[in-house]
């Protein structure tokens, strides 16, 4: 594996020697719990896959309250666990203090940047993946109208939306993109009923492809699209199988890969790197899913155009705007 | 009467004992009740009458002793067994389904088979028969809640008879009845006795014992102190047996020396939250140095009258204290009433006069707790002052046990009432409102309480006394107003009226100008 950017690679690799026997990696899930059918669960799958491949064991914990974030980090660090992965941006504050107190322990945080010498901050170029599925959506659409249903209205999800719209407009500058966010709180990640309602509303306005970035809410989005005979686009993991023939593709965000890599790099014989770890198209951290379930929906011509765009993005010929770089989207 | 003694007694109890923790409620009680007689059981509150009857009816299990019914030893583990043994019970508080008809209540729990029809038909026939036989007339199709308490009581008796009870236990049966209803009840009981039924009547009213029973047992502190033929005894002797010392049954009092009008009530009207008119224009006056009695069957507006005067009920009309109008348009005026010189011994000390979970010293300031003598700096209660205050009052009113830290509920009814009286009387009011001064109070304490009330009158205070006990009204008051259905049915000089006339007024059968 290669990484796009590596900053501050000054982590003390020697640290591993002392508690090597105890140095099982550890993972701390967010308050949603590891079986949230979304983000945490993907992280869990990555950890499981690492355990299977390497034959190693790891520690994990789910939390009950905010105050436990720091506590859990400390406990694992004190117990000699290394590396320690925290899943979710909410851990940033806790990690900032704990990472300083345990300079010899490696930490990784997903979806957030914590600028400490022993912390790997894994972030994804969701806008790039969303750009590609946006292109596919525009090519598959007969009406020239497509939809986007987000989960909780946070900058991260707007980043998805912005990349998606750019992809759509790249194919069909005159296309219309309907956008809705499910809500403003954490419940928005798990409200399939509302997700379905929003999707039906968009379909009623003429949308025939709807992309979701809404966690558990997305099930309702895909269901509604399939029920109406339209197309949905999945997110995070490959969701093509959920409604075969009705899911155009899925925007892959490989949290599992991030966890897998962190475990692998941080354990014996691995090559840990701290700093930003941006997973984008080049590293297959994001992408679009093709399998037998959607083979009939995506023609070879469409794949060819998307692959070309992908190569251009990697090569820097196409610049997809990242909403979070300036909290603005030029096409919206 | 005049049956041979060879017949086995209907009920015979031998050596019954029952204790609740350290309290011995029944101690080695033996009693024998002849078949076809009315047997009275008297005793003060807490003497163990109700416990004994509960054992007989299967609510409690005796610690030791035996029960013989008609000469046969019988175990009564529950009320089903009691019914099977031919025992029926009429409770003080009726156990009727309010929105069922008489007939439905009678068969309830004694239905035969799944279909109600045959049971009802059978019951109807039986009801007609019983009504003729015992003067137990009740409309079988009337709904319970539309019946007066006298009729509801008859339904309870019918229920027992329908279950073929030969032995009938009545617990304080006249507590809620007018004198004429009580007389009717006694006629029914005599009829039942003459037909061979055995009746046990628990009461604290000595007059009724003398009036209706054949034999009477007296209980005191869990023990049976005497069983005598009623004809061989008299109320004074019974009272002495109950209390354990000589008791003055009549109140000694001089004629009233009435002064100026202190309390003036004009056209008082109250409509309750359900829209029912409770007071329909009440007017009266109370002068200094006299006791005005308010007689009447419970529930004819007396409670509402006391609430308004006591400052926790709303009304229209006017109330003047020494010529100055007081606010009756809003509730929560208790403090202003007390400041205006009105003290109030409420009729329901359990729910109004006392906080049962409060210690005596806390109760002794209740309603006056804002007075400076109980308050220290910073709004804190002056516990030491309150304790001192209570110890003094307990001594002067002979409250036992004289422990100010005991909760109100740990005192007997009489001593609870004395706590309230001590609190209200020692506040030295101009006007004392007093409701049911001796309800649930033992005879010994009644004497004391009556003396206190008369003494207050003689000190020139105006006293408004509400009581459902005609004896009390007749022996204590100077004037009496009878309330019926929210208005005053008549007013009399106590010395110039009698029980019969008041009874008619109470029943609403005689309207007399005030």
């Amino acid at each position: 594996m290669t990484f796009m950017k590596t900053i501050l690679g000054t982590a003390s690799a020697l640290a591993l020697t002392a508690g090597a026997a105890l140095a099982d990696p550890a993972i701390i899930f967010d308050l949603g719990g590891k079986f949230d059918k979304s983000f945490n669960e993907a992280a869990f799958e990555g950890a499981e896959r690492w355990a299977k491949d390497s034959g190693g064991t790891y520690r994990e914990i789910e939390l009950q309250s905010e105050a436990q974030r720091e506590q859990a980090l400390r406990r694992f660090a004190e117990a000699g666990n290394n590396p320690i992965i925290v899943v979710g941006f909410s851990y940033a504050t806790a990690l900032e203090t704990v990472a300083v107190d345990f300079p010899d322990t490696h930490f990784a945080i997903v979806d957030m940047v914590v600028d400490k010498p022993n912390v790997r901050s894994v972030i994804f170029n969701e806008h790039e993946g969303s750009y590609l599925v946006g292109m596919l959506a525009a090519m598959a659409s007969k009406t020239g109208k497509v939809g986007f249903v987000g989960g909780m209205d946070i900058p991260l999800i707007r980043k998805f939306a912005c990349g998606y719209v750019q992809g759509v407009k790249a194919v069909n500058p005159g296309a219309t993109v309907f956008q809705n966010m499910t809500g403003t709180t954490y419940t928005a990640w798990n409200d399939p009923v509302k997700g379905g309602e929003l999707t039906r509303a968009q379909i009623d306005q003429g949308a025939d492809v709807v992309y979701h970035a809404a966690g558990g809410t997305g099930r309702g989005v895909l269901q509604a699209a399939a029920d109406a005979g339209k197309l949905g686009i999945g997110v995070d993991s490959n969701q093509n199988y959920m409604f075969p023939g009705h899911v155009l593709t899925s925007m892959l965000k490989r949290v599992d890969v991030a966890v897998y890599n962190a475990f692998k790099d941080g354990s014996d014989g691995g090559t840990w790197t701290s700093g930003f770890n941006v997973l984008g198209l080049a590293t297959d951290g994001v992408g679009y899913a093709m399998d037998s379930n959607n083979a009939a929906l995506v023609s070879a011509d469409m794949v060819a155009k998307v692959e070309a765009a992908k190569a251009d993005i990697i090569a820097g010929k196409i610049m997809v705007h990242d909403y979070m770089s300036d909290n603005a989207c030029p096409v919206m | 009467m005049g049956r041979q003694e060879t017949v086995a007694p209907a009920i015979e109890l031998k050596g019954i004992s029952k204790s609740f923790g350290p309290v011995q409620a029944n101690k080695d009680i033996s009693i024998s009740v002849r078949r076809g007689s009315i047997h009275g059981i008297v005793g003060e509150n807490g003497a163990g009458k109700s416990t004994l009857m509960s054992i007989l009816y299967g609510f409690y299990k005796a610690d030791s002793g035996q029960i013989f019914i008609n000469g046969k030893q019988t175990l009564i583990p529950d009320s089903q067994a009691a019914i099977a043994a031919g025992i029926g019970m009429v409770h003080q508080h009726f156990k009727l389904v309010e929105n069922f008809t008489v007939l439905e209540n009678v068969v309830l729990g004694a239905e035969e088979g799944q279909r109600l029809g045959p049971s009802l038909a059978k019951a109807r026939a039986l009801l007609v028969e019983l009504a003729r036989e015992y003067e137990l007339e009740v409309d079988p199709d009337a709904v319970i809640e539309t019946l007066s308490v006298g009729f509801q009581q008859r339904v309870e008796i019918l229920k027992a008879l329908y279950r073929q009870a030969d032995i009938l236990i009545l617990d304080e049966p006249t507590g809620v009845l007018t004198p004429s209803e009580a007389d009717h009840l006694f006629r029914i009981l005599r009829n039942l006795r003459d037909q061979g039924k055995t009746i046990i009547m628990i009461t604290h009213k000595l007059r009724e014992i003398m009036n209706v029973t054949d034999t009477v047992s007296v209980m005191r502190r869990g023990q049976m102190t005497a069983t005598v033929h009623t004809t061989d005894t008299n109320p004074a002797e019974l009272a002495e047996l109950m209390v354990g010392r000589k008791v003055l049954l009549r109140v000694d009092k001089k004629p009233a020396v009435a002064g100026d009008v202190v309390l003036e009530v004009n056209d008082l009207r109250v409509t309750d939250s359900k829209g029912v008119v409770r007071l329909k224009g009440i007017s009266f006056q109370v002068k200094a140095g006299e006791i005005l009695g308010i007689a009447g069957v419970a529930g004819n507006g007396q409670s509402e009258l006391l609430e308004v005067l006591g400052g926790f009920g709303r009304a229209t009309g006017s109330v003047k204290v020494r010529g100055t109008a007081i606010n009756i348009a809003s509730a929560a005026q208790g403090r202003h009433r007390r400041e205006a010189g009105i003290s109030h011994v409420p009729e329901d000390r359990n729910h109004l006069g006392l906080i049962m979970d409060f210690a005596a010293w806390e109760n002794m300031a209740f309603g006056y707790h804002h007075e400076p003598k109980y308050i220290r700096a910073g709004g804190l209660m002056d516990q030491a002052a309150m304790l001192d205050d209570t110890i003094g009052k307990m001594e002067r009113f002979d409250i036992r046990p004289p422990n100010p830290r005991l909760n109100a509920q740990s005192f007997s009814g009489g001593n609870q009432q004395k706590i309230v009286l001590a609190r209200e009387i020692e506040h030295n009011p101009d006007i004392l409102l007093i409701g049911q001064p001796t309800r649930g109070v033992d005879i010994g304490a009644i004497e004391f309480i009556h003396q206190q009330i008369v003494a207050l009158r003689d000190a020139g205070k105006a006293i408004l006394l509400v009581s459902v006990e005609l004896d009390e009204i007749l022996s204590l008051t100077d004037r009496v107003a009878v309330m019926f259905d929210g208005h005053i049915a008549g007013e009399r000089i106590t010395a110039e009226t009698d029980e019969k006339e008041l009874g008619l007024l109470m029943a609403g059968m005689m309207e007399g100008a005030a």
Binding site: G33, S65, E66 | -
Partner: protein
């Protein structure tokens, strides 16, 4: 029936209840194939075994003391304040306003202001259901529950639309300036040269102890407390005595709400240093159990709150050291404690009462 001596009522029975709850919890632990004795040991060690463990235990206990006192005060007026959750949430807003819109130079100035802010917001939030109950007859249990939802919605609205930190992913405020952050036990003990590890326990714990004492004075020593208890024991008798039910309901609920609100000082100003979407995390409901177990007495509430603090913190260690014990299992154990100490209280009380009666009778 006879009565139990006070010590049995306040100490023995709750103790037996808790014991029984742990016994059943042990069976549950056994059922999933772990050693219950070992689990018990982990929980004890995890909650009291080290200064840091104690710090966390007392941090949680601080929340439960406030919400438990809140329920207790209302309960003395026979009012069931189920709304601690919402009242504390709204108080979080109050604390956040105080801490965000004034750049406090020092926490000792920020704290009194935050107390006022928290008490004011939560007190008003509790006073509305009190008003609805006494003037409109809406049952306070229903209204306080509904107000929990309204509070949650209000918090969401404010955090998303009004006071959100623009740079943040989650709906939360920006971090408070250092002058608005309460000193932790580590700092405070550091002033006197004692080394204490990092943990979220902060000066709010002392505030909670003061609140216990204040509630004791209020309920058992003050005239207002006398009236509150009288009203609680018998509304009709209170009316007779001239105590206004409306006044007592309003005052008792306002005090109750304010106490619940003070827990926001602990979580928002002490631990989070910012307002997050759910600053209460169920402590409002735990407060009901705490008041129940503590017999609505401040000392009982204090001890029960410590017990629940131990359950929270020990539970965390249990799931940490025994991965088989999931966080749902911890919830089950907490629920069992509530069940046995609250709902099934008579299970223990009746046999104990009988035992006492037999004993006292034998002695007599």
């Amino acid at each position: 029936m006879g009565k139990l001596p006070k010590w049995a009522d306040y100490a023995l029975i709750p103790f037996l209840n808790v014991l029984l709850a742990f016994f059943v919890s042990g069976l549950v632990v056994l059922f999933i194939g772990e050693d219950p004795i070992k689990a018990m040991g982990i929980m004890l060690k995890g909650s009291l075994g080290s200064p840091r463990a104690i710090g966390y235990t007392l941090y949680y206990a601080t929340n439960f003391i406030f919400t438990g006192l809140a329920v207790a005060v209302a309960f003395h007026a026979r009012l069931f304040n189920i709304g601690g959750e919402g009242q504390a949430g709204v108080a979080g807003l109050g604390v956040a306003f105080v801490c965000m819109y004034v750049d406090w130079p020092h926490w000792s100035l920020a704290l009194p202001a935050a107390i006022i802010g928290a008490a004011l917001f939560a007190g008003i939030w509790a006073a509305i259901p009190a008003y609805l109950q006494s003037k409109r007859g809406s049952h306070i249990v229903i209204t306080t529950i509904m107000f929990n939802y309204i509070a949650a919605a209000l918090l969401v609205y404010m955090l998303v639309n009004v006071i959100k930190d623009p740079g943040s992913m989650s709906p939360q405020t920006r971090a408070f300036v250092p002058g608005s952050v309460l000193p932790t036990a580590k700092e405070m003990l550091g002033w006197i040269g004692v080394d204490f590890p990092r943990s979220p326990i902060n000066i709010s714990f002392l505030l909670a102890i003061a609140a216990c004492f204040g509630v004791w004075i209020l309920i058992w020593k003050s005239r207002l407390g006398y009236e509150i208890r009288a009203f609680g024991h018998s509304e009709s008798a209170a009316g007779y005595a001239g105590i206004s039910g409306f006044k007592i309901t309003m005052i008792a609920m306002t005090i109750s709400g304010s106490l619940a609100g003070l827990m926001a000082i602990n979580t928002v100003m002490g631990e989070g240093k910012r307002l997050v979407l759910d600053p209460v995390e169920g402590a409002g409901f735990i407060g009901i159990a705490v008041a129940l177990i503590g017999r609505s007495h401040p000392l009982g509430v204090f001890l029960a709150a410590i017990l629940f603090g131990m359950l929270y913190q020990g539970g965390f260690d249990l799931s940490f050291d025994m991965p088989k014990v999931s966080r749902e299992m911890i919830l089950v154990i907490q629920a069992l404690v509530i069940l046995f100490t609250g709902a099934l209280e008579n299970l223990v009380r009746m046999p104990v009462t009988r035992l006492f009666l037999r004993f006292t009778k034998g002695a007599a």
